[in-house]
Symmetry: C3
Subunit: 359 residues, 3 copies
């Protein structure tokens, strides 16, 4: 799109805190994969398993960590950036080559703003954005086209709503949150008082708070609390199509992968990881560092640090053993049949007499 | 946000059909949880298991049912509202303290209305709403910002579309339906005629009917019928991210929890409950009152009243026994090995001769 | 809505490549199901199992294949269309009776177009559509109300975005793609470099390419690649609420049913079918023609043509056997107990001596 900027390895190394091996004057315009990179690109080798790809790789330079740099030092002569943490260095390189576009501050003439909104002059409000009364947008907030902010919301510095993200009334986003298109934050929790076969809606009068640096994927849904707060902890990342029920609470730096579901009032500690399509039932706690395997269903509280899998979820190594055993059921049945046959033969050869002496 | 209104317990009791124990002149401004309530609040105690929380509870008043009122009558001296159905009473209290905002009727100047729309003067059409030709909005309909109504739709009295809800052409919402943000009602069913490896789209020319009082959660999707109707029964509640395929039919007062999926032409009786992330395959019937456990997959029709669980789903108690047995597989294998060893010893001590008399 | 057009069976037969049995002058106005059709309708009988429904069917004409036509030739006297491929013929009939509305080309005055967009005069841009700078819309493109196209996107001939579909920057849609409401194409992949407990976002600088004729359901999400491309092959169909992670690649004519999830860098061959709520983990390949049963989790690569099921997924017939065995666990335990009892009796009758001669 725009003309690429060339940067020398030396300049890049300084910028991202890496060191150069080979010719630091070599210039590159972008980072590409080992397969796609050309002579004007740098390519990351982050995993030993992909070493063989170097052979056909046309990249002009490489990015790797100290260990891999040593390993390939004789077989590959390309200039390279060597970093302690190569994946983090890749992040910095990508940020350098692809800086997030920062739109000019200002309010698009088509935006509809409610009474009493406070919008920082350094915020950007895009076309057809609607902001409800009494909401506050801090500096650097970026509301893209068609995003909707309810009444009395509070968006901290640098928050970004992609097109058609929706915040219901009273939602709070601390600084640096990013909400992707179609995500809905603060819709009513799913709560009813059932009487005589009729479900009476429990008014959902709590709110949602996303702490600083939370990212929410496309078409995810985080419900407001019935009373009080649904709260997602600092730096947690929520993938596409995740469902978080009312009154859930997560610690910091949790990872909720695609299509994960948390029922109401689930509590996560810090650093909890839920893999894709897994779920947790309500009113339980997953302790700090708990890891849930894909497709699992956690029905009970899990202590800190445990890895779990299965439906219902059990300790991971136990689940693995059970899966192996499950695969051997057929053999188990055959062994049992063998035992029964042999036993019948034994019994026939030496009949067992019952207590009355009959056989 | 707005200044809270104080109400006496006596006034509240009358309003919600409860009775007062203690000083009916005590005034409260809101209902909060046992943990969060202050002296100016009333707090609900709906479950015996939470009795211990009363100790640190600062609420000025309590809400409970007759049984719990008796239980704590000596240990807790706070004035209280006592109701036959405390959870329903809580609903009424929340409705009292947090009435749903009713916007002024009228059509926002930015709304785009197709030819031949009939919009009741008592309906509210928000900013950037688009309504297709020939659609009808009854009194009290509230279309929030950016909601889109297709052509020839019919919305009954008091229906509410939250921001960015979408109705495709010909969708019918009976009175009192509420559709949350991002929900899509009436998109094409997933039907193809495959010929020579190519999938030819089957035109989806049916429609969706939501009967009175249906609530649909954020980012849920209910597909139109191929021919005829997809129909959700009176008072049924559909949670976030639920998928309902073409030509499904549900009875009244069904509950479809978060991320549930119904394949095409699934039929539910009245009062069916599907827990989170469960699913049902197409062309089957789940009878009245059927309950499906979280994460289960129902592959066959289920008779009235049955509770099921598992993949594929079986009767709940059977599934529970199997889960227990599954957990004992390791021991089972050990027992079998023990039997084999003992049998070998028996055989060695008293060799069994084969039919030719050899051992 | 509009007055229906009558067409004779003879005219229809010619149009769809079928032949008439009976009176070709009979006129019908629409196609309805066997249950709903009246004398002015034609009804399809596509499956032998539904033959009994003919008895009460009021349709004026039938559509069926050669085999079924022969079967009912004596029992049912209605005129009929007979086709080699009756389901495909039904598609053609529905297209005839319900042609997709083609809006007048033109750009709605409320549309917001970025600098340097190229919009073909034969494209239609609806109300409140936003198109970013440098994007290109070919002839016949139809952007419905509130759809959002990012910057530098490229939409081929005849692509249709339903209301509130979103394309992020640089997305490519080849000719004839259809994107339903709420679908989000090109949002950031879920990738982080975690360092010291903090998740640093990996900039997602790749893009999404949908090849010709891809259809994407409501509220589905297809993430852009970290580097390079996420690519959906020609004629593949993606149902509602499906999640496709960054860098996935599918072959042609794949079917991804409702709520399916593909983790990052999953590769599908041609004609792969994933049933509802199933998933595949990342960095694996599902070969040509692989079929995955509903609710399954594929954790390893699968060779061409295999059908799999289960969590983790195994070959389908194996999974079926295991499900049967699982259902017999209780009996297995009973048999084992029986063996243990009998063995104890044998041992008592003829004590086995250990090596030291003790019993």
């Amino acid at each position: 799109m725009s003309r690429p900027t060339e940067r020398s390895l030396r300049e890049l190394a300084e910028r991202i805190g890496a060191r150069v091996e080979g010719d630091g004057a070599v210039r590159v315009t972008d980072l590409h994969s080992l397969e796609a990179a050309g002579p004007e690109h740098i390519a990351p080798l982050l995993d030993r398993r992909f070493r063989a790809r170097l052979q056909d790789c046309r990249a002009g330079a490489l990015l790797l960590d100290e260990g891999l740099a040593k390993e390939i030092s004789e077989s590959d002569e390309r200039p390279r950036l060597v970093a302690d943490k190569a994946r983090l260095a890749m992040v910095r390189l990508l940020e350098t080559f692809h800086p997030t576009p920062r739109p000019a501050p200002g309010i698009h003439p088509t935006a509809v703003l409610g009474d009493g909104c406070e919008i920082d002059p350094a915020a950007t409000v895009g076309p057809y954005v609607v902001v409800g009364e009494g909401s506050r947008l801090a500096a650097g907030v970026w509301l893209e086209a068609h995003s909707v902010v309810g009444r009395h919301c509070d968006l901290g510095e640098g928050c970004r709503l992609h097109p058609q993200a929706v915040l219901y009334d009273e939602t709070v986003l601390e600084a640096g949150c990013e909400i992707h298109s179609g995500a809905v934050i603060g819709a009513d929790g799913f709560g009813y008082a059932t009487d005589g076969g009729t479900h009476h809606k429990v008014p959902q009068v709590g709110r949602v708070v996303l702490e600083a640096g939370v990212e929410v994927g496309a078409n995810a849904a985080i419900d407001r609390a019935t009373l009080g707060e649904t709260r997602i902890g600092v730096g947690s990342k929520v993938d596409n199509l995740v469902q978080i029920g009312h009154n859930c609470q997560t610690g910091r730096a949790c990872i909720l992968s695609g299509q994960v579901g948390l029922a109401g009032s689930t509590t996560l500690g810090d650093g909890v990881v839920l893999a894709g399509q897994s779920g947790a039932s309500g009113h339980i706690r997953l302790g700090d560092g708990v890891q849930v395997a894909a497709k699992s269903a956690v029905l009970n509280s899990i202590p800190d640090g445990q890895k779990v899998a299965g439906i219902p979820a059990v300790e991971l190594s136990l689940w693995k053993r059970r899966v192996v055993l499950f695969g051997k059921l057929q053999k188990l049945v055959q062994r049992l049949r063998g035992v029964e046959d042999r036993l019948a033969a034994v019994e026939e050869a030496a009949p067992v007499k019952d207590e009355e002496g009959r056989d």
